[in-house]
């Protein structure tokens, strides 16, 4: 099925003829300014990125100046980028989420980096395999991993120890059992576990541990989780957990920060969040005197984890060869060991190259803080949502449906699944 899909897409591209233009790698010949749109808004992220950009601007010998523009969440970057491409005035390079890459790639909006990779002898094999899925499309190299992350379980070690678990849970069943205990022991003051709603991320891996696929099929053009009962089971369970009280109902806006707030004021014992927030979360935990544990995320019957986050892509429309070449230089800079390792240590995003892992920066960090190492190790069994042009819209629909059930609480899981079936029929 997947192959057929790719063939169809290729056909479409051939017909449109734009896919036939192969860019040649050029060199930057004169001073140039390029814009970089990103979603790195949190304090540590912004600080690290500002350092990166300043360093690149100061050290590159080609006269390239990068101007970083924070555009909000990943969804905002996606929307603004698409809109600006249509407007003919896009950024040169952007941090694009995994859900957005297929949307841009299938419309042939990303520069094929192959000529540059070949020209500069960039070692593609150095890229960590687990985060290389979204690099290739249709035989081209379209992105470089930048802020890839996986979901991690953050938990309050002391609280779990109090109810008799002196290690992290290894299955969902175990996690739930202890979460319940914590809740009951505190007379309902402390919730055992909390999730935010990230349909293509945390919830995806929970469904995946049931049906091996998650919320979207392997070929990216269907959602059999609706039919095989896995989504219904997960939704019923989740609703039940929140009903019983030990699983926190996510807040409507800024859910992720509310979850952390609750964790920090000790009314929540554990939550699942991106490894990309590891630094922020560790700092806050330390400040609040919390014995923070980081652990593999668990699904039904064992470990299960998603991969997500963002990659760097260069926009091919509305940019000159010079701008594209300059963006490639910047991209290459961000892929240097020092930058990759620094990015990982400073913020928690996954290290994307094997060589960066060998650096002292990372090795020292890992020796001190096993949580960062653990996020990398989790990649062994983590998986990404399928590369599909539907992923963006579908996950938005699923997210809204989950919100209706878990936050709105005025609908049954069966109704949610039925509604999703209708939506799926309209979408796929």
């Amino acid at each position: 099925m997947k192959k057929l899909f790719v063939v169809l897409l290729m056909g479409a591209l051939l017909v449109s003829a734009q896919g036939l233009v192969f860019a040649e790698a050029v060199g930057v010949t004169e001073p140039i300014t390029i814009t970089f749109w990103h979603a790195r808004g949190s304090t540590v992220d912004a600080e690290w990125l500002a350092n990166s950009i300043n360093k690149f601007n100061a050290t590159n010998t080609l006269g390239i100046t990068v101007e970083g523009v924070y555009q909000g969440y990943f969804s905002d970057v996606q929307a603004k980028t698409l809109a600006s491409i249509a407007a003919g005035d896009p950024p040169t390079i952007a941090e694009i989420s995994c859900t957005a890459i297929p949307v841009l790639a299938t419309q042939d909006l990303l520069v094929d980096l192959t000529p540059y990779v070949e020209r500069d002898g960039f070692d593609m094999d150095n890229i960590v395999e687990a985060v290389s899925d979204y690099i290739y499309y249709d035989g081209q190299i379209i992105t470089m991993p930048y802020t890839r992350g996986t979901a991690i379980m953050y938990y309050n070690k002391d609280m779990y120890a109090e109810v008799g678990l002196d290690r992290a849970p290894t299955t969902l069943e175990e996690l739930n059992h202890y979460a319940k205990l914590i809740y009951e022991n505190s007379d309902g003051a402390v919730k055992g576990i909390g999730y935010t709603i990230e349909a293509n991320y945390y919830q995806h891996y929970l469904v995946q541990s049931l049906n091996g696929m998650g919320i979207l099929d392997a070929d990216g053009s269907g959602a059999s989780c609706l039919e095989d009962g896995s989504l219904l089971q997960f939704l019923t369970d989740w609703f039940e957990w929140t009903e019983e009280g030990w699983c926190a109902v996510p807040a409507l806006s800024s859910a992720s920060s509310v979850v952390q707030e609750n964790f920090n004021n000790k009314s929540l014992a554990a939550f699942v969040s991106s490894s990309n927030r590891a630094t922020t979360i560790s700092n806050n935990a330390k400040a609040n005197g919390i014995n923070l544990g980081m652990a593999f995320t668990v699904g039904y019957g064992g470990y299960s984890a998603p991969i997500g986050g963002g990659s760097l892509g260069i926009i091919n429309r509305g940019n000159t060869d010079q701008e594209i070449a300059a963006a490639w230089e910047f991209m290459k800079f961000l892929m240097t060991d020092e930058q990759v390792a620094g990015n990982h240590v400073a913020t928690g995003v996954l290290p994307a190259t094997y060589s960066s892992i060998e650096t002292d920066i990372i090795q020292e960090c890992w020796a001190e803080n096993e949580g960062y190492k653990l996020s990398y190790e989790q990649l062994d069994f983590a998986s990404e949502i399928r590369f599909s042009p539907y992923v963006s819209e579908w996950s938005s629909i699923v997210k809204s449906a989950m919100s209706q059930l878990i936050q709105g609480r005025n609908i049954t899981p069966e109704e949610v699944v039925q509604n999703l079936k209708d939506e799926a029929a309209a979408l796929f």
Binding site: G41, S42, T43, V44, D45, A87, S257
Partner: protein, 282 residues
């Protein structure tokens, strides 16, 4: 008969007492949120999430304001808000006044249709037209400039309509007297019509001001770069996605945005209130 009405005054007294208490309650209801914004902005983050909340900051701090200024290039947003607002007011006046004058004082072919168009435009929300205006702006490559926030508002249907009403109230005799005194059209407009329509003009200006300064939806859609975004979009930037919502910082940002409007209102409240009321009568 007599005793029947002795309660008349007593009852009135009781009613006015209850009425007064309720008025105080309403004052709190409408002013307290502003107070809350101000107080929160002077609290520390820790002080802001204490439950139950305190009516005064435990420790009075300007930390939140410092954060606003370090995290945002506030002058950029402020500058954009000011430029857009001033430009919109000026252009709307320059375009609206002659149109309203022509509609009120001349009869010409197509006047009826044009007036109907103005009325229709008054009913059409920008929240519908934004998609296609966006496409237009993108084709003009204006999205990295302030123009999309200014130019589409060049003509205010509402302003034209209101000014026309005001101009029509000016007695024809005065205009004819001015013509006999050999005054040109421009002189009639600026020396007779505008002073006569001062109250309406003020209302229109105030609405333009409030509309542009407070506009959120339009710049959200029509800006692609930070350098063209107004204050209304700045507050969003004060939310840290990853850490908790720092309400003092958000309220501090909010205060900076609200303050100019509140100041203008405090200085001119009587005029503003009476010109608003005037609008209602028409």
């Amino acid at each position: 008969m007599h005793s029947k009405y002795t309660g008349f005054k007593l009852r009135r007294l009781a009613v006015s007492g209850i009425s007064f208490t309720f008025k105080l309650f309403m004052l709190v209801l409408f002013l307290f949120p502003f107070y809350w914004m101000i107080v929160t902005s002077f609290k520390t983050y820790g002080g802001s999430i204490v439950f139950p909340p305190t009516l005064l900051p435990h420790t009075f701090t300007l930390e939140a304001f410092e954060q606003v200024f370090t995290r945002l290039n506030l002058w950029n947003y402020l500058k954009n808000s000011v430029i857009v607002t001033v430009a919109v007011i000026v252009i709307q006046t320059l375009i609206g006044v002659p149109a309203a004058y022509a509609f009120s004082r001349y009869s010409f072919k197509g006047r009826g249709i044009m007036l109907a168009l103005v009325m229709a435009a008054f009913m059409v929300p920008t929240q519908i037209t934004f998609i296609t205006v966006y496409i237009m702006m993108s084709k003009l490559r204006w999205l990295n400039t302030l123009l999309p926030q200014i130019v589409p508002f060049g003509a205010s249907a509402y302003g034209i309509f209101l000014l026309r009403q005001a101009f029509m109230q000016v007695p024809t005799d005065i205009i004819e007297a001015a013509r006999l005194d050999n005054a040109g059209e421009i002189k009639i407009m600026t020396r007779i019509m505008l002073p006569a329509a001062k109250s309406s003009l003020m209302t229109v200006t105030l609405f333009s001001f409030v509309g542009s300064w407070n506009s959120y939806f339009w710049p959200l859609v029509m800006s692609n770069a930070e350098k063209v975004r107004p204050l209304t979009l700045a507050i969003e930037r004060l939310k840290d996605q990853d850490a908790g919502i720092n309400w003092p910082v958000i309220m501090a940002g909010n205060m900076i945005m609200v303050l100019p409007v509140l100041l203008i209102f405090l200085l001119m409240s009587n005029k503003i209130i009476s010109s608003m009321g005037y609008r209602g009568i028409k």
